[in-house]
C-alpha cells in the first residue's frame, strides 16, 4: 500500500476543508441569488482530493463531471476563479487557460469519458507522458458513453483512470435502480481491465488506489476502473430537495463517516492539525472564494461575448447577427436586404 506522506495528508485535508467551506459559501451565494445552480461537494472531498493528489499536474489531466472543480486546488488557484466565473454565468468560466490540464465542468453525463480515452490515447500517440483521470458518478455508469469508452480504452490500453464516485444517488435514484451488478467496479471485467472498489471516505485508500492505477497506466498496462464509495451528504444541487427521498437514518449514518472528520481526527492525533489550523484554513478558503467571486464579477463582458468562440471566424451569417446585436437593432436577425 502506498501511503501519502504526512505533508501530503495535511495538504489533502487543507484541500478537503477548503472545498467544503467554499462549496458551502457557494450554496449561500446561490441562496442569495448571486450565482446560479451549483452542486454541493459534501461527502465527495476525500474521493476527489485523494485521487488528484496522486497526479502530476505538469503532465496528468483531470476531466471532471461537475461536482469536482471546486476541489482541484492542486491544479492551481485559477481553477477556483473559473469555478466562480462559471457559476456567475460568465462565458469565460469554461476557459481554463493552458497549460492547466483540467477541463471545465461537464454537464452532460458521461460524455467526458470518451474524451478522456481519446485524450489519453492522443498522449500516447505523441509519446507524451501523463495519464488522464476522469470523474463520473454512479448514475453516469448507465450511459452508453461509459461502456463505449470503457471498451475502447481496454482495446487501446490507454493510460486513463476511470474514477466512479459512487455517492449512492443519481439525484433521487438509488444505486439499486441504477444497476443490478454487484458493484460498479465489477463492470471493468467486461472491458478487460481491473476494477477496484475503495472506501471513498478514506483519503488514504483513495490515494493508494489511484496511485496504483496511475503506475499501471504509466507502465503501459492500461486503464483501471476505480469505484470510490461515498455518500452524498447534501442535496444533488441547489435545485433539489433530498428530504423527499434520502432516508434520514442513512444520512445520519453517513455523517458518522464524514471523510473530513475522519482525516481530521487522524491528523489531530498525530499533531498535524488542530482547531486553529482548521479555522485558519476555513478563513483562507472564504477569503479565496470571496476574492475569486469579486474577480469574476469584475471580469469584463463584451455585449456580443455570447457570439464569440462558436467558430474560429464568424460565418457571414453570424457576423451579420453580431453587427445587428452591436448596433442595437431590436430585430437582430434582419440581416437581409429589406428594401
Amino acid at each position: 500500500m502506498t501511503r501519502p506522506s504526512d505533508e501530503q495528508r495535511r495538504q489533502m485535508l487543507v484541500d478537503m476543508v477548503s472545498a467544503r467551506t467554499q462549496s458551502r459559501r457557494m450554496w449561500n451565494l446561490q441562496r442569495q441569488g448571486q450565482i446560479g445552480t451549483m452542486a454541493p461537494i459534501d461527502g465527495h472531498e476525500a474521493a476527489i482530493v485523494g485521487a488528484v493528489h496522486t497526479l502530476d499536474p505538469s503532465c496528468d489531466w483531470v476531466l471532471p463531471q461537475y461536482r469536482e472543480p471546486v476541489a482541484l486546488y492542486r491544479y492551481g488557484p485559477e481553477i477556483l476563479e473559473h469555478v466562480m466565473l462559471y457559476n456567475i454565468g460568465h462565458p469565460s468560466g469554461g476557459h481554463i487557460p493552458a497549460p492547466t490540464r483540467v477541463l471545465p465542468h461537464q454537464i452532460s453525463l458521461a460524455t467526458q469519458i470518451p474524451h478522456a480515452v481519446g485524450l489519453a490515447w492522443g498522449l500516447t500517440l505523441q509519446d507524451d507522458p501523463g495519464v488522464v483521470l476522469v470523474f463520473f458518478g454512479d448514475g453516469s455508469s448507465s450511459e452508453g458513453d461509459f461502456y463505449e469508452a470503457g471498451n475502447l480504452a481496454g482495446v487501446l490500453g490507454a493510460p486513463v483512470i476511470f474514477l466512479c464516485v459512487n455517492n449512492q444517488w443519481a439525484i433521487s435514484t438509488p444505486i439499486h435502480l441504477q444497476t443490478a451488478a454487484e458493484s460498479f467496479a465489477a463492470k471493468a471485467a467486461a472491458f478487460g481491465f481491473p476494477g477496484v472498489q475503495v472506501d471513498g471516505n478514506d483519503v488514504d485508500a483513495v490515494f493508494d488506489a489511484v496511485h496504483t492505477a496511475r503506475e499501471r497506466a504509466l507502465a503501459g498496462q492500461g486503464p483501471t476502473l476505480i469505484e470510490a464509495t461515498v455518500y452524498r451528504l447534501g442535496p444533488h444541487t441547489t435545485a433539489d430537495d433530498p428530504t423527499r427521498y434520502v432516508p434520514v437514518e442513512d444520512l445520519e449514518a453517513a455523517r458518522q463517516r464524514d471523510p473530513i472528520a475522519r482525516l481530521r481526527t487522524e491528523l489531530e492525533a498525530s499533531g498535524l492539525w488542530d482547531d486553529a489550523v482548521h479555522a485558519d484554513v476555513e478563513a483562507a478558503a472564504i477569503a479565496d472564494i470571496d476574492a475569486a467571486f469579486e474577480k469574476a464579477k469584475s471580469t469584463p463582458l463584451e455585449p456580443d461575448a455570447m457570439l464569440d468562440h462558436c467558430y474560429s471566424q464568424d460565418t457571414q451569417r453570424l457576423a451579420r447577427q453580431r453587427a445587428g446585436m452591436l448596433s442595437g437593432l431590436e430585430d437582430q436577425d434582419a440581416g437581409g436586404r429589406i428594401s
Binding site: 432516508p247 445520519e252 455523517r255 458518522q256 492539525w273 488542530d274 486553529a276
Partner: protein, 462 residues
C-alpha cells in the same frame, strides 16, 4: 424507641434531603424551628448525587479530554487519554465532598436527620420506615421535597447494564463504543456532548422534530448544529420502540429501523415522587401529572407544603431551593410568595445554552411588543481568547425598554446566568444594562453590547 403507632411529636418535618429539602431544613432551623429531616437515600438528592453535580464533573472531564486538539494551536502540545475507572472515582469524590458538606451543615444547624422512608398516614402524621422498624411522627408543619425520578419508557425497561438511565451513564466505568440516547432534552444533550468528546459514537433519538423542545426554536437549531459538528447523530421525529440484540429499534415517519448500540441511555424526563410519599393522605391534591397543587406559598394543606420537583415548573435544583425559603417563611408566619419573574435554564452542552425570562416569540405570544438585539461572540474579544467564538447573546426588552429575557448560546454562557436573571428579576431596563460598566474582557460584556444594540448605539458590530 417507640413501638406501635404511637407518634412522636415533631415541629417542622422535612421529607427529602435534596436541594429543596436541606435548604428548607437549614432555613427553618435558622428561624428557630425544631427541624427533623427524613432522607431515604443520601443527602443532597438527585442533584448532588446523580444529577447536576456529577454530570458537570463529567462534562469537565470530557472537555479536558477534548482540549489537546483545541489548544494545540496555542502552542500547547498535549495528549489526553481517558481512564473511565479513574473518572468514576473522581466523580464519587466530588459527590462525596459535597454530600458530607451538607451533612455537616445540617448537623451544625441542629437538624435531626433520619435515614428512612417517610409515608404520610394522616393529615398530620407520617410513618418513617427505618432499617427494621417503623417510627410515627406527628408534625406541626411538613415540607415535602421528595423530588422526582426518571421516566421509563414502555418497551424499554432499564436493565442497569445495556439500557440505563442518566445516573448509570454518569458513573460508567467503561466507555460505550456506540451510545444511543433516547431523549433530546437538556440531559440528553449534555450527555451526548460529554460522551462524544470522551470518544463514544453517539446518536440522539428525539420524538419531536428538534432537540431541546422546551427551549426556543432558534436555540434548538443552533445547538443541533453544534451536536452535528461533534459528530453526534440525530434522529429527530423518531421514537424508540424497543431494544433487541443489535441495538435500539426506533420508528419514524419513514419507517422503522434499528440503531446499533452497546449502550442505550433513556433520558426522556422525570416524574414527581408524589406517589411514593403518599401525600394524598394529607388531603393534598395532585394533578394528572402527579404534581402537587400548591398556592403561592407552596402550601398544599394548612400544614403541608410541597416544593421542588413536586410542584409545577421546571425540575431544577435552584427552583427547589428558592421554594424552600418561601415555604419555610410561610410556615413561620412570615409574608412570602413564590413569584419569580424568571427561572434561569441552562444546558451544559457544546455549545452551552442559557435562557432567562421570555424569548422574543414567547413575549410576542403573551401580547407584548418585544424588541431584541443579538450580539455575536464572533465580535467578543474574550470569546476569541477563549478560543470559541460561536454563538450569541440576545437581550429581549418590552416596549418600555424593560429587560424581559436574555438568551445565549455559546461556550461558557452558563456563567452569564446570574447577570441575566438579575436584570430580568429586578426589571432592569436596557439602559441599566447598557449603562453598567462591564469589566473587559469578559463574556459578560456581550450582554452590555446586546443592550447597547437595543439602545440604538452598538459599539462592536459584526
Amino acid at each position: 424507641m417507640v413501638v406501635g403507632e404511637v407518634a412522636s411529636p415533631v415541629d417542622l418535618l422535612v421529607i427529602g434531603g435534596g436541594p429543596g429539602g436541606y435548604a428548607a431544613a437549614l432555613h427553618a432551623a435558622r428561624l428557630g424551628r425544631q427541624v427533623t429531616l427524613v432522607e431515604r437515600e443520601s443527602l443532597g438528592g438527585a442533584c448532588l448525587n446523580v444529577g447536576c453535580i456529577p454530570s458537570k464533573a463529567l462534562i469537565e472531564v470530557a472537555d479536558a479530554v477534548a482540549a489537546p486538539g483545541r489548544i494545540a494551536a496555542w502552542g500547547v502540545k498535549a495528549t489526553a487519554a481517558v481512564d473511565m475507572v479513574g473518572v468514576h472515582d473522581h466523580l464519587l469524590a466530588v459527590v462525596g465532598d459535597l454530600t458530607s458538606g451538607v451533612a455537616g451543615l445540617l448537623e451544625g444547624a441542629g437538624v435531626r436527620v433520619m435515614s428512612g422512608t417517610a409515608r404520610f398516614s394522616r393529615p398530620n402524621r407520617v410513618a418513617v420506615e427505618l432499617d427494621e422498624l417503623v417510627e410515627h411522627l406527628e408534625f406541626r408543619h411538613a415540607i415535602v421535597a421528595t423530588g422526582s425520578r426518571p421516566i421509563e419508557l414502555p418497551g424499554l425497561p432499564l436493565d442497569g447494564e445495556r439500557v440505563v438511565g442518566s445516573a448509570e451513564l454518569l458513573f460508567s466505568t467503561e466507555l460505550p463504543d456506540e451510545l444511543v440516547l433516547v431523549g433530546g432534552g437538556y440531559v440528553g444533550v449534555e450527555l451526548a456532548c460529554a460522551f462524544a468528546k470522551l470518544g463514544s459514537r453517539v446518536t440522539v433519538v428525539e420524538v419531536e422534530d428538534r432537540i431541546l423542545p422546551s427551549f426556543g426554536k432558534r436555540i434548538g437549531r443552533t445547538v443541533e448544529r453544534g451536536l452535528r459538528d461533534l459528530g453526534i447523530g440525530l434522529c429527530l421525529g423518531h421514537s424508540a420502540t424497543g431494544v433487541n440484540d443489535d441495538g435500539l429499534a426506533i420508528s419514524g415517519p419513514d419507517g422503522d429501523l434499528v440503531l446499533h448500540a452497546d449502550r442505550i441511555g433513556v433520558v426522556v424526563g422525570r416524574r414527581p415522587n408524589s406517589d411514593m410519599v403518599g401525600i394524598s393522605e394529607t388531603g393534598a391534591s395532585l394533578d394528572e401529572r402527579g404534581l402537587v397543587l400548591v398556592d403561592e406559598q407552596r402550601r398544599a394543606t394548612d400544614r403541608v407544603f410541597a416544593i421542588g420537583d413536586l410542584t409545577d415548573g421546571p425540575a431544577l435544583a435552584h427552583k427547589a431551593t428558592a421554594e424552600a425559603e418561601v415555604a419555610v417563611d410561610a410556615a413561620c408566619g412570615r409574608p412570602s410568595a413564590f413569584d419569580p419573574t424568571c427561572i434561569p435554564m441552562i444546558v451544559f452542552g457544546d455549545p452551552q445554552v442559557l435562557s432567562v425570562g421570555l424569548d422574543r416569540d414567547a413575549a410576542a405570544a403573551v401580547g407584548l411588543e418585544p424588541t431584541s438585539s443579538r450580539f455575536p461572540f464572533a465580535a467578543s474579544g474574550r470569546a476569541r481568547t477563549l478560543g470559541d467564538t460561536g454563538g450569541y447573546v440576545e437581550v429581549v426588552a418590552d416596549e418600555a425598554g424593560t429587560v424581559i429575557g436574555v438568551q445565549a448560546v455559546g461556550a461558557h454562557v452558563a456563567e452569564l446566568a446570574g447577570e441575566a436573571a438579575l436584570a430580568v428579576e429586578t426589571a432592569a431596563t436596557v439602559e441599566d444594562l447598557a449603562g453598567t460598566i462591564h469589566a473587559h474582557p469578559t463574556l459578560g460584556e456581550s450582554i452590555m453590547e446586546a443592550a447597547l444594540g437595543l439602545a440604538g448605539r452598538p459599539v462592536h458590530r459584526a
